[in-house]
């Protein structure tokens, strides 16, 4: 009897110990993020006003803002999504549904390699391929570089998510006389949509934070520019410029721009989640 009781007590202790240890780990994981976010918030919020959000950069001491950088970042991210999402998702569908051959295995291996390539190399690649022939840096080149970074991430996450769709669902559709493409298109893709969205969001968040590939490709601009054929400002490059400047007022603006960038990514995330929420 006493043996049974001590076993019971031991089990309870081990159980509560495990819960505590994992909870502490979870706390540390989120705490670092919270510290970073709150620090950025505290340092950045003071310099944010309407002027800052709409103005273009001005010489030190005359104010200035990041309006053109916000527009540039949004435009280039948009271009990257328009190119990168269809290709990435399409490639992911191929890899998951038809990719068990040499071609599929090669593509998978290269995609994994590409994910690990430093992003500045993608910038140099686009510099050689697009910037040199065009004779100048441009929003187009910047968007293309971001798209290239995005494609392998989207492709691999899409593949993983599609693999999670149970085969029984595919069989159900096939047994109704659905051709393979229809099974993929209106059964498998909708079933995997939440996961694919998460993958896309991760990729968008990743490219929104990229600076290196834009230095060679989009360069920067002091003006509002809505067209892809000219150099384009971006939040990340602007942050880099402000942060490396010698004056304190510039550093403040760098913090403020960082806060704006994070807020934008968060807003896109919430919006996309809302638009693609599961109804069934």
């Amino acid at each position: 009897m006493s043996n049974k009781e001590s076993l019971h007590r031991r089990r309870k202790i081990v159980s509560s110990l495990t819960t505590t240890i994992t909870a502490v780990c979870a706390f540390f994981a989120i705490a670092v993020l919270l510290i970073i976010l709150s620090y950025i918030f505290v340092r950045g919020i003071a310099s944010i006003n309407l002027q800052f959000l709409v103005d273009t950069p001005k010489p030190v001491g005359e104010g200035g803002g990041i309006g053109n950088a916000i527009v540039g970042s949004v435009l280039m991210t948009l271009l990257a999504c328009v190119i990168g999402l269809p290709i990435g998702i399409g490639a992911g569908v191929y890899l998951a549904e038809f990719g068990e051959n040499l071609f599929g295995k090669t593509v998978r291996f290269l995609a994994d390699t590409l994910i690990g390539v430093p992003s500045i190399i993608v910038g140099i690649f686009i510099y050689t391929l697009v910037v040199l022939p065009m004779g100048r840096q441009s929003g187009l080149a910047g968007g293309l570089a971001l798209a290239i970074i995005m494609i392998p991430i989207v492709a691999r996450t899409t593949e993983e998510m599609i693999r999670l769709v149970p085969d029984s669902m595919r069989e159900a559709a096939l047994a109704l006389g659905a051709p393979q493409w229809r099974v993929t298109w209106n059964i498998v893709l909708p079933a995997a949509s939440t996961g694919i969205t998460t993958g896309a969001m991760l990729a968008i968040a990743r490219i929104s934070g990229e600076t290196a590939p834009l230095l060679f490709t989009a360069l920067n601009s002091r003006f509002y520019n809505y067209f892809y054929d000219q150099p384009m400002a971006s939040l990340t490059v602007q942050i880099y410029n402000y942060a490396t400047g010698p004056f304190d007022v510039e550093h403040k603006m760098a913090w403020a721009a960082t806060l704006i960038l994070i807020t934008l990514i968060l807003a896109i995330n919430i919006l996309v989640r809302f638009l693609t929420r599961k109804r069934f």
């Binding site: 669902m169 069989e171 159900a172 559709a173 096939l174 047994a175 109704l176 006389g177 909708p190 109804r279």
Partner: protein
């Protein structure tokens, strides 16, 4: 009695491993035929050769002939999509689509373009749900998720979905094995009802179920057809000693 499906000398292989050995069997129209046998005996594999569901497995290979209405479904010019419309299937685990109850049924009707307008589509969905004895339980919640249904209801939804494309044969792979006795009884009543219109082939582990619902029973072991007889005879006075041992539970 007219044969709906007639299988002769069917061999089936997963790669080098032979799963079915020289099966010859006639399935009469508008009757229920039950396949029984121990796990791994090939009865599910055999069922899936009848609508070529095994095509999805790259290493699978079949030889021999399977005639449905006199046409060889393994002939090179067979339209597999059309075959599967004619030979519907219900799986062991209910597998509704992540869509509404209505859209689950409408899916097959839509992809096969079997409706003229919205009213016609609604009427056909309603009929399928009626035929699967599910209408009264779901008529007020057609636009809610199919995953909100109970296990038994989900399985009848899958039957309704199969009925909606107006097949002639329905293959059922242990359709009630995951259900409680009450839900099982509903499925069995449904099978007896559906027999008036459809030819039904059912794989089951439950021997009482085979005895209750089927007209003929086939007993498989190790990929071979041991005995195929009228169910009544099979369960009272089987020809084979092996069948009797299996049915009475005196196995091995």
């Amino acid at each position: 009695m007219e044969s709906k499906i007639s299988i002769s000398n069917l061999n089936f292989y997963y790669g080098k491993e032979q799963a079915l050995h020289d099966i010859t069997l006639e399935i009469p129209e508008r009757q229920v035929v039950a396949f029984i046998g121990p796990s791994g005996c090939g009865k599910s594999t055999f069922l899936r050769t009848l609508n070529r569901m095994n095509d999805t497995i790259p290493i699978a290979k079949a030889d021999g002939t399977v005639l449905i209405d006199g046409k060889d479904i393994y002939a090179p010019n067979t339209d597999v999509v059309a075959l599967r419309r004619k030979v519907g299937m219900v799986f062991q685990k209910s597998n509704p689509f992540p869509k509404s109850i209505f859209e689950n049924i409408a899916y097959g009707i839509r992809i096969n373009r079997m409706y003229e307008n919205k009213a016609d589509l609604e009427q056909k969905v309603g009929k399928a749900l009626h035929d699967a004895a599910l209408w009264d339980e779901v008529k007020d919640r057609l636009n809610t998720s199919a995953f909100g249904l109970s296990g038994g209801q989900q399985q009848r939804l899958c039957i309704a979905r199969a009925l909606a494309v107006q097949p002639e044969v329905i293959l059922m792979d242990e359709p009630a094995s995951a259900l409680d006795p009450i839900a099982t009884q509903k499925i069995e009543e449904l099978i007896v009802e559906l027999k008036k219109q459809y030819t039904i082939v059912i794989v089951t582990h439950n021997m009482q179920q085979a005895a209750r619902v089927s007209d003929r029973t086939a007993f498989f072991m190790l990929g071979k057809l041991v005995e195929y007889n009228a169910t009544q005879k099979m369960f009272t006075n089987p020809d084979e000693r092996l069948t009797e041992d299996y049915i009475t539970g005196r196995f091995g």
